[in-house]
């Protein structure tokens, strides 16, 4: 009998602690989620406009199952599309926002949204000196580091990783375009 009593107390205490924790956390969650979503949306919006030079706004575009963002300039005419794509880097996933001009078959601008590569080496992919070279690069290029892509010194793998993601993104978008029309 005595043993049973202890068991019930254990259950009651642990359960109450869990319930109180859950209540507190659901309140905190409700208070913070709108802000968190706002930050995420804001960051994405800035990234999209950043990779589409000349764009002042954009609209979402569904094509072949892909989520694309059609950038529009002040006059409302299209200036290219933005596409988010990711792939493996040297130490973790690299997420890119890529601006493309599908009609003229070239890249507009690339922005690194997230990467975990070596600070000072691979992480320098976020510097203009490296990512700037993709501006205006043709879809039909090879995207091979040390050949048509200038690799970051000491970070050939990271440089090739970014190139691969771009190449893959181009293929994905082109397929979506050819399949969708």
């Amino acid at each position: 009998m005595g043993k049973e009593k202890i068991d019930i107390k254990l259950i009651v205490v642990l359960t109450s602690i869990m319930i109180i924790s859950a209540l507190v956390l659901s309140l905190v969650y409700q208070a913070t989620t709108p802000l968190i979503n706002e930050h995420a949306a804001q960051a994405k919006k800035e990234a999209i406009l950043d990779v589409l030079p000349g764009a002042v706004k954009y609209e979402k575009l569904e094509k072949g199952g892909l989520e694309l963002y059609q950038g529009l300039d002040e006059a409302g005419s299209p200036v290219g599309i933005a596409f988010q794509h990711e792939g493996n880097g040297f130490q973790g996933t690299i997420i890119l926002m890529i601006g493309m001009d599908v009609e003229n078959q070239k890249l507009l601008k690339v922005k690194i949204l997230d990467q975990l590569d070596t600070p000072g080496l691979g992480a320098r992919m976020a510097e203009e000196e490296f990512k700037g070279q993709f501006q205006g690069k043709s879809f039909s290029d090879n995207f091979v580091a040390k050949e048509d892509v200038d690799a970051i010194a000491g970070a050939t793998i990271s440089s090739q990783a970014v190139s691969n993601i771009l190449k893959d993104a181009i293929a994905t978008v082109e397929q979506a375009y050819s399949g969708g029309e």
């Binding site: 254990l10 956390l25 989620t33 080496l121």
Partner: protein, 220 residues
């Protein structure tokens, strides 16, 4: 009042969680690559330490011994999740740079250690003093390591914030290794070595004094 002061002060130096007790080594080694990260991690940990310390101390009588640790962990995890959400909502830049290490505060042995060895035995007011002392001790230690690594590894202090200072001149070639994981071991090891050297020397000076003055020591 004196007891409270002692509870607070011991965490700063004599029982410093990082440099003396060597608790919480994972965040110490992982996030001290910049001063900002070290400071933010220290503050986040301090909040969890204080919050969970207070609650654990208050409910200690209600919790049966058999489920003490699971209960403490749930309470700690609750506070960590609060920090995680709040950081993402109010300081997204810092949340971004600490990423995975905020949820990992749950398993920081410093927090469960203080709950087990202090909060579960002492009244609330002493727990608060202890948690504040340990929190400040942990924060300054992490910031200190962060400053050393950032100055040598990047040549700056508090980079990426409005407080950023360029410490080293143009001539300085940053030692990249200091901001990589290996740099954490090098820095912590060197700091601990230097500290122990001075501590031992201070101790041996005391012994020398005692030896030379002989009997007089006993009367002091």
């Amino acid at each position: 009042m004196l007891t409270l002061w002692k509870d607070f002060v011991k965490g700063l130096w004599k029982e410093n969680p990082v440099f003396v007790m060597l608790l919480g080594m994972c965040p110490t080694l992982a996030v001290t690559n910049t001063a900002t990260n070290g400071l933010a991690m220290g503050l986040a940990t301090s909040f969890v330490l204080l919050g969970s310390g207070i609650v654990n101390s208050l409910v200690k009588r209600l919790i049966p011994d058999e489920v003490r640790i699971p209960s403490f962990i749930v309470i700690i995890a609750t506070f960590v999740t609060i920090v995680d959400y709040s950081a993402k909502a109010y300081v997204p830049a810092i949340a971004e740079s600490l990423k995975l290490f905020i949820p990992l505060i749950v398993v920081n042995c410093l927090i469960l250690g203080r709950s087990e060895s202090f909060a579960s035995k002492q009244p609330v007011h002493r727990t608060i003093a202890d948690a504040l002392g340990m929190g400040v001790g942990f924060t300054w230690a992490l910031t200190f390591l962060g400053i050393i690594r950032e100055v040598i590894g990047f040549g700056t202090v508090f980079r990426g914030t409005s407080l950023a200072i360029q410490v080293m001149g143009e001539w300085f070639q940053p030692w990249l290794i200091m901001v990589l994981p290996a740099g954490a071991f090098l820095t912590l090891g060197t700091v601990l070595g230097v500290m122990n050297y001075f501590k031992n020397r201070a101790a041996s000076v005391k012994v020398d004094l005692q030896d030379s003055t002989g009997e007089s020591c006993h009367t002091v």
